[in-house]
């Protein structure tokens, strides 16, 4: 090839590029063409089977249909409560060829900056969400608690949650604290174990997503006493039953989180035309009669929202008053449940190895401070067990289960 022609080719190429740039800034059409013959990886942040996998496969298959020439491949990346999958989506190349789905409960993790997250939900390229997932208070059928008011007045009851740090625990704990509900949380119920536990009557209730419990309720095993979000008319909304503004703010946070369920998102900065094409394909998928029929058959509702709208919802959910954030932080930091009692030491025996005081419920409580673990402060100075005397006015922090060992004794 001589110099002339190579210049000509180059010139022509530049001109064409310039023309293309002028003609179609971020048009969905050029984006759509990009996906011809390309393979898109759709990451599902859980193992195969289950709701996320179901929606993920459904969405991937229908999006492939609405992006002609593309191939969607579903990849399961389970682990660490959706964090592994979400990190992988966030870190992937922003060429529009990697998308995925994860639990929006990660909003809580980001709000308090938990360990392990390497993503910023506000920066992700939001493609859409497929459903809303209102939360319900489910109460076992055999329990006398019939309404939310009954729950408020009832003596302490057991509620199930999965591990500490999980969205289910965070929501249950925050609601119990903020609304002063007589709930004791029992951790570690994974999957459907909580339903079994309610059948066995070891657990009275659970705060869970409505779609997971509809069958349970239909089978006559439980009832709903309150709901957060959604437009079902059969259960009263929690917000209508509370007056406390902090509580209301919290319920609003949980609701906003539940509104954005079964999301599809990609890494930040996907080129605008490709993102537009993906959003269009997602929209096409959600409006696809076949997808709707399948979702219906699987008992999975479709309540979509798209692109920018979802991005706005996510950003809104991530702006929270400091009070809510500190409540969240407290919830996620708690290692051992403790209680704080203030009052005089009623009795001190055995050189401070046994102390008696009025516990939070007003009853006398005798506990054994530990020489190594219990922190003792007397008049602002570090003290020893020997220094404790009956009649000293103290603030005592003690564990509420097991041996009730005090962790802190702060006396004037």
């Amino acid at each position: 090839m001589d110099k002339m022609t190579s210049h000509a080719v180059l010139g022509f190429g530049l001109a064409a590029a310039a023309l293309a740039g002028l003609a179609a800034p971020a048009s969905a059409q050029s984006g759509k063409d990009f996906f011809k013959g390309k393979t898109v990886t759709y990451i599902v942040s859980t193992a195969a089977g289950g709701g996320y996998d179901f929606y993920g496969r459904l969405v991937a298959e229908a999006m492939q249909k609405h992006l002609p020439g593309s191939t969607f491949v579903v990849r399961n990346m389970p682990g660490a409560g959706h964090i592994i999958g979400t990190n992988a989506i966030y870190a992937s190349r922003a060429d529009g060829l990697t998308l995925g789905t994860f639990n929006t409960g990660l909003i809580y993790n980001q709000l308090v900056g938990l360990d392990g997250i390497r993503f910023d939900l506000t920066k992700m390229s939001w493609i859409g969400k497929a459903a809303s997932d209102p939360r319900v208070f489910v109460i076992s059928q055999s329990s006398p608690i019939k309404t939310f008011e009954d729950l408020r007045k009832s003596p302490q009851v057991n509620f199930a949650a999965s591990g500490i740090g999980s969205a289910s625990y965070v929501e249950t704990k925050m609601l119990a604290d903020a609304l002063n509900l007589p709930i004791k949380i029992i951790n570690g119920y994974n999957g459907t174990e909580d339903m079994m536990a309610m059948r066995r009557n070891e657990i009275v209730g659970i705060i869970g997503s409505r779609s997971s419990f509809d069958d349970f309720k239909q089978n006559g095993y439980g009832r709903y006493i309150a709901q957060i979000g959604g437009d079902d008319k059969d259960v009263p909304q929690l917000t209508s039953m509370i007056t406390d503004p902090d509580g209301k703010a919290l319920v609003a946070l949980i609701q906003s989180q539940g509104d954005i369920a079964r999301v599809t998102a990609g890494p930040p900065n996907i080129p605008a035309d490709r993102l537009a094409a993906l959003v269009a394909a997602y929209k096409g998928a959600m409006e696809d009669k076949d997808l709707q029929a399948r979702a219906e058959k699987g008992g999975r509702p479709v309540e979509p929202a798209y692109g920018e709208d979802v991005a706005k919802m996510v950003k809104a959910a991530l702006i929270q008053p400091p009070k809510t954030i500190s409540l969240l932080k407290e919830t996620l930091d708690v290692k051992v449940p403790v209680a704080k009692a203030t009052g005089p030491l009623l009795e001190v025996a055995d050189k401070g190895r046994k102390i008696t005081f009025a516990a939070t419920d007003g009853k006398k409580l005798t506990v054994e401070p530990s020489g190594s673990r219990t922190k003792i402060m007397i008049a602002g100075k570090e003290g020893k067990r020997d220094d404790l005397k009956a009649g000293l006015n103290c603030e005592i922090t003690y564990k509420t289960d097991g041996d009730m060992e005090p962790t802190n004794i702060n006396c004037k």
Binding site: G49, G50, T192, A197, N219, D401
Partner: protein, 504 residues
């Protein structure tokens, strides 16, 4: 009742396309079972798009059979190469692989396949019998009982590690339990030994651990030793249908054991929360404990193959019960199956008994017939499969190692698991090389986790008084008996298994 029972069987057998779908289901199930790392759960999730258009019965039969025969083929690689596909197959490895080394792969395969089939059928029988009493039985097992059942399984470590190996077995078992604590502690939310390695947050991958502890060391040992897996030559003589048939006959010869382990397996499967691997291990322990010749276990005792295999197939029938009648799946595999059932229009729940008993019976019969088809097919091909143990080791080893790496990766698609595979393989080879038992490790890893989680829950629910529940007292009694028995056995050294005899 009787009407529905037999008309369902008749419909199943006489409907061409149902039988065809069952055969398809069996073949897929067998294939999935052979491939390490791919469980029944994944195969069902992948099959869901295909059942969308199917009618209720056909789709349910296909999926159920696919899931149920997984265990029947899973043991092939455990026996042939010492490569268990997952936690329950690992129990079969302990006696199955030594049998293959003795040149008895055919006998082991015959026995294990028949045991699987028999287990599956008895499991279906237990399913049928238990329907009326399901509710009280299942609901009487709570976290307190899960903890004690897991503890009972763990005490089998002591039984398995009898004789001079006693201390070694205990050490290895506790090491397994220690590794079971890796990950996020659900009751405090602290990460233990996992740091910022996210892949460890959910605990050590069981599949990876099992492959590293059993498969890799055996392959290294084979490569070092040279020759073929079967240490006896002369394949032509020893490799006939006769040997396989001999294996098949071992099941009726040990019918009482097979019946007991099938029932135990089905019951464990029925109780959501214990998991399938527990069934195989608890039944293996039971076989050793009740054997008149416990010293033979680990050296290639056919009972050591029969017990876990009956259990692992019988549990399928059992775990279908809570799934269908409570709408509460007992395992992750069943959860996926239930999702598929919903798509097919089957509404699991207590009303199923009253509304659609013919479907229930069709599913029970599908379990029976599916297991029979799988066993017949596998027994037919077993002769050629078993010949592989006579192939030269250096041809087999690379192939198996690739399968192992594949299995460790695909299960969670995390490359970090390959690093874990290498580290644990080194430990596994060390144990093998110096004659330390490896089975207690897997028991510790599988049951340690269940024990810890259940104990936490039981304590939170009832405090220390949880073990005064009646069923708990029974289980405590069993644990005390087991430990007492182990101590008694150890005081009579002649009866105890000798060093390095177990788990060679």
């Amino acid at each position: 009742m009787m009407d529905t029972m037999f008309s369902s069987l008749f419909t199943l057998l006489s409907t061409g396309h149902l039988m065809f779908l069952m055969c398809v289901g069996v073949l897929i199930g067998i294939f999935v079972g052979i491939t390490p790392g791919i469980g029944g759960r994944l195969s069902i999730a992948l099959a869901i798009p295909f059942v969308f258009g199917m009618d209720m019965v056909a789709g349910a039969v296909l999926l159920l059979v696919m899931h149920a025969v997984n265990g029947t083929s899973g043991q092939i690689s455990s026996i042939m190469f010492g490569v268990p596909g997952d936690g329950d197959d690992a129990a079969t490895t302990i006696d199955g692989y030594p049998m293959a080394k003795k040149g008895e792969a055919g006998r082991a395969l015959g026995a294990s396949m028949t045991a699987s089939g028999v287990g599956g059928i008895i499991g279906a029988g237990v399913f049928a019998v238990m329907i009326p009493v399901l509710e009280p039985v299942v609901l009487s097992f709570s976290p307190a009982e899960f903890f004690l059942l897991a503890l009972l399984g763990i005490t089998f470590i002591a039984v398995l590690a009898g004789g001079k190996d006693f201390l070694k077995g205990i050490i290895v078992g506790f090491y397994g339990m220690m590794l079971a604590t890796i990950g996020m502690d659900p009751s405090t939310g602290t990460s233990r030994y996992a740091g910022n390695f996210l892949f460890l947050w959910d605990g050590l991958s069981l599949v990876t651990a099992v492959l590293a502890l059993f498969a890799v060391p055996e392959m290294i040992a084979l490569a070092v030793k040279g020759g073929s897996i079967a240490a006896v030559g002369d394949s032509k003589v020893r490799f006939t249908y006769r040997q396989i048939f001999d294996g098949v006959m071992e099941v009726p010869r040990n019918w009482w054991l097979a019946l007991r382990t099938s029932i135990i397996g089905a019951l464990i499967g029925m109780i959501p929360g214990l998991g399938g691997s527990a069934a195989a291990w608890i039944c293996y322990g039971h076989a050793v404990q009740t054997s008149k010749t416990p010293e033979m276990f680990g050296k290639g005792a056919v009972q050591g193959v029969i017990a876990p295999e009956t259990a692992s197939n019988a549990k399928e029938g059992g775990s279908l019960l809570p799934t269908l009648f409570f709408g509460i799946p007992g395992s992750s595999g069943m959860a996926v199956l239930m999702g598929a059932f919903l798509i097919l229009g089957i509404q699991p729940g207590p009303t199923l008994i009253t509304n659609n008993m013919s479907l229930v019976w069709t599913l029970i019969w599908a379990l029976v017939v599916g297991n029979v088809i799988a066993v017949c097919f596998l027994l037919f091909v077993a002769r050629w499969v078993a010949l592989l143990t006579f192939v030269k080791g250096n041809l087999i080893v690379p192939f198996i190692l690739v399968m192992t790496v594949f299995g460790a990766y695909i299960n969670e698609s995390q490359w970090e698991n390959l690093v874990i595979l290498v580290i644990l393989s080194a430990i596994g080879y060390g144990l093998l090389r110096f004659g330390w038992p490896r089975a207690p490790f897997v028991i510790g890893l599988v049951l340690g986790h269940i024990a810890e989680e259940s104990l936490n829950k039981a304590l939170a629910l009832w405090g220390m008084s949880f073990f005064t529940r009646p069923l708990s007292m029974v289980l405590i009694g069993l644990i005390v008996l087991t430990i007492g028995y182990a101590i008694y056995k150890n005081r009579k050294p002649t009866n105890a298994p000798s060093e390095a005899s177990l788990y060679e």
